[in-house]
Symmetry: D2
Subunit: 353 residues, 4 copies
């Protein structure tokens, strides 16, 4: 940590700051520039609060050098984390396909989608039963009965199930029905929920908050890992910007960035990241070519009758088009992924050696 002192700081004020730091067990390295004096703090614990120091009279700015995350860092865990769900490996060579409706609506709807998706080679079925909706007057999800329907439909077609929990009590309600718990974008900083889900033994699908920075995103994952659950996959689903032609702005940059700094898998959600069916296919291809470990796509037999998110759901024909396009580039993307994994292995052994 670097502390930049105000050029009008008094001797007493400098002493105060230094005493405070030394009391925490850290060491200080002083350095005087032509215009500013700075204090380098060495051996500071990660939880030494950067903000408080700026409140000292005479301190101009505090700059953190270390990234705040630890368990989610690739430094801590150099190889990719691979998460096994039924017979799927997430984070491994082959990108994973997750598809299904925004909401579970009826037993028939989810069963039909399950059948169709399994025929298309999808391995994980999505479907919300607790729905976070901006309006109290909108459809709020089918609740536990919906969970039962999706669970049975998935069993019939040998699919794994992912569904969202909105609050702590939903964990118990959904536990027997789902294989992966989803934490939605609006809950990314529901820290009590993160801690609770971190105590479970199921994989977690953590969506990036609509205006989350990289550090905030990884720190939310860190909440889960620090409770003992290391099966966390991240999801980029678009961020909120000034841009008007899409529901959200897909931040492609974060896909390779996560691969650089963290060992956790990163999945993309082109449905939310665009909000428009006409962009889902090219954005999916772009994300996979840039290194994403999988796709989560909303699919519905009749999007215009969907209870939610119809305008960003593919119909079955469009889903075929997506899979056809993916098939065109799949082999070459796998080649790129294989090379990347080899580089990681080389780095690990170089560093170990």
């Amino acid at each position: 940590m670097i502390i930049v002192l105000n050029d009008r700081i008094s001797t007493d004020e400098v002493k105060n700051v230094k005493d405070y730091i030394i009391k925490t067990g850290a060491r200080i390295h002083e350095s005087e520039g032509t215009e500013k004096k700075i204090l380098g703090v060495i051996g500071d614990k990660r939880d030494l609060d950067q903000m408080a120091l700026e409140a000292f009279p005479g301190v101009e700015k505090v700059i953190r050098i270390l990234e705040p995350y630890k368990l989610t860092s690739r430094k801590f865990h150099p190889r990719n984390t691979i998460i096994k769900v039924k017979d799927v490996s997430i984070g491994d060579l082959e990108p994973v396909l997750i598809a299904g409706p925004c909401s579970v609506e009826t037993e028939e709807q989810i069963t039909d989608i399950a059948r169709e998706m399994s025929e298309k080679g999808v391995k994980i079925l999505r479907g919300g039963v607790f729905k976070p909706r901006s309006s109290p007057y909108s459809f709020q999800g089918m609740g536990e009965v919906g969970a039962k329907w999706i669970s049975e439909a998935a069993k019939k077609y040998n699919l794994a199930v992912i569904s969202e929990v909105m609050e702590i009590s939903d964990i118990d309600t959904l536990y027997d029905y789902v294989d992966i718990f989803q934490i939605g974008a609006r809950s990314m900083q529901n820290f009590k929920l993160l801690k609770a889900i971190g105590k479970t033994d199921k994989p977690i699908f953590l969506k990036r908050g609509i205006s989350a920075t990289l550090n905030e995103f990884l720190m939310s994952a860190e909440y889960i890992l620090s409770e003992g659950n290391e099966q966390v996959m991240l999801c980029e689903r678009g961020i909120r910007t000034f841009v008007e032609f899409t529901r959200n702005t897909f931040d492609l940059n974060i896909v390779p960035m996560i691969k650089n700094v963290s060992h956790l898998p990163i999945i993309i959600d082109p449905s939310h990241a665009t909000g428009r069916t006409d962009l889902i296919i090219p954005v999916s291809l772009g994300g996979l070519a840039a290194g994403a470990d999988g796709l989560m796509v909303e699919v519905h037999p009749k999007p215009y009758e969907a209870f939610s998110d119809g305008n960003q759901s593919l119909n079955y024909d469009q889903m075929n088009d997506l899979l056809d396009a993916w098939e065109v580039i799949r082999e070459s993307v796998l080649k790129l992924r294989k090379k990347k994994i080899e580089e990681i292995e080389k780095n690990v052994s170089d560093y170990a050696g």
Copy 2:
């Protein structure tokens, strides 16, 4: 609702859309422009999902005309809502001052602040005991014992208490200790929490999410009102933008905008909206002059020792400076507020007459 049709839409596709709308009980008003055909939907229920219609083949765009909120709208409730907490009236002529530490830390700390604030004329004491922190390694709040301390300190100095609930079970935990429940920015779209808090009989202080639009903000209030609790005050605490010199960007525009479209009080939080003590006083004055119904400010005897948010907490001397500055403009601001209330009354009687 206006539905803009694609210029290549087929006759069958037009029929599909129209049949669907008519089935919901709404009427259609067709209109053919030189380049586009549009359908005006009349008598549509507020919950007719705008998104789904865009999924119809041939539909280009759907435009909502009605604002989505109802109970929070000034049209529905033309006079200002005034919320009574002990002997304070929030939303009335006199702006309210809420102050206190970010976190309750020790019994001595909160008691000292309570004493100091009561001497300064503050009527409501803030202090968090459940703290939403980005890092799992940061101080997470004192929990119920902290609630007990702040409740006793407030009683001693005849202050009301406001504190944050992070999840549903916190409501019961805090119920006997606080006078106002705060919903933090990160929980603004924790809809299950909003519903639960809407069933209580205590006033609610709802903070705007860090990237919430006006409609989203009011719809979150609508969740609470629609459960029966009408004592909701809103809080602008800054939004996330590209701007680098402050923690958040204070959106002053929303203060008069809320007064225009809603009857609910709007309080500003200059501590979070700036993140810098050197900006709190001028921003407070600006917000009050623009019509805010009150201030919530973080205060700490020794900000540099605060467990959280020290860098945006005023010390006692700075709090004095704020109150002195406010005193300079208070009378003239009250004159402006009085005139505004008279205008509302005139509007109400004009419209009624």
Copy 3:
């Protein structure tokens, strides 16, 4: 255009609005909903100012139905625009590679880069000689002598040259030295420059402004086309958002969106869109897989000695890595592009038929 009237509008006020519209030659289609009255304006000219109408007493909102751009629209020009520069076709099947230093620094530097790029198969050499720099104390470019150097270097290795004009007089200065004029992000709304460049006969490379919407971007292209120059290629180079880990946020969504609504080629600039060399390769691949018509990349033999943008410039080895990775997916991307072109042809003939 749709005009939503305030529910308290008087009969006289309605008349005023209608008279005003009729005077412009447009027709009105009235429609009364349960809560709002709306006026549909038919046959409005594109330049009927939407803003002014909102200033009429009693008008609540004005909603434009038509997109504001015309010459840049795919409706107006259904097939892709293909721009020929020397023996390169931009906007055609094969994506184009543009590479070179941020700034032309010395004759040796640009000649060495030209040689290296030509060996690597690059066809267009970039290099700025007028540099828009945030600081007046930073290197401002070599000016005309730099243009001479890059022109000669390019000639020697049979490359085309692209370089930026910052103001009108730069057009004449650079005319004989460059094959493509670049309009930088900061000049995207320098409308007098757009008009002037629209009168030239050279292809234009128009970069998206750092916070330009889709409509603004296309309207800036419209400025150039409306002056008679139809050889415009667009460039997505990242937008400004709250995101902290990259210099800009690459908006991948706009790549397929531009292909949908416009006939102009869209190139991506992963150097500016990330600001980090470690992200350039994956983002390049992602953009190309999503349909971009080419790449513009900053390359420098010794990035750490570059006069500008060193931190986002690839060195020669990294440029090799980029080309190797592109080679892996190139064939499959060409297949996707070919299919897309066939779809466009089919659409054109369907519509014509």
Copy 4:
């Protein structure tokens, strides 16, 4: 400047970085933490390019300690800059009122507005004759004849004139007609225009770019000052964010921030900062109470007939309302301003002493 080294940097790579820095004449202060090694660079010139250093192999991050601006800094010039235009002092105790139409339209229009504004106590008349418009099909301004009209109208009513220059040749065209040159938001980083205008002897009104950071804004002012023209006033006119209910988001925080770090006057433009007449008055009051040195407001006798910006222009009655409201708080705002000026004086003499 602080250079954070990668924990895998080799000894040779460290040497390279150090040699490079020493060659520039700066000194190095090394410091080894428990996880990172950092180099403190002392005596670095302001133009040592931070970006390039990040391109060195083994360098993780470069952090600048010094702010990039110098001539615009309050450290360099502790007292407020006061700019005299005719008999008005901008940046002094009394905030300045600038008003007029968005565009000069006809001789009658501008003369009528000049008369009305002078009666209301306004001292500076605004009116654009070169208009930067998003669409090539929109009204582009009256050009020089409009400048003649506004100049004569102003003379008749003893007002000063401010009008915008869009490119270098506009400076000569407008020179004899205007008292203050405006640089619009879209031109804030038109660096060649900034340099040219910096060579004139007239005051400059520099608007913040729609997505300009504080540093970028001040560095654009620095361009002008570094050419010798010190009469620069800054203008906050709203920034682009995700917020949907206003045209721009007014960044109130920057008003007191500019007063802290710079000596230049800061004016607010509530017309552009809101885009809605119903918010102009409260936002104006808020800005003035927070320390703004003046207002620029768009006024038009019939906003709905304005050639541009009608929806954010006050009519004469609304302008009266604004002035009445300002009169209510004016005395108390002057008291606050007086105290602020005294504090500055005290700081200056303390530091000098």
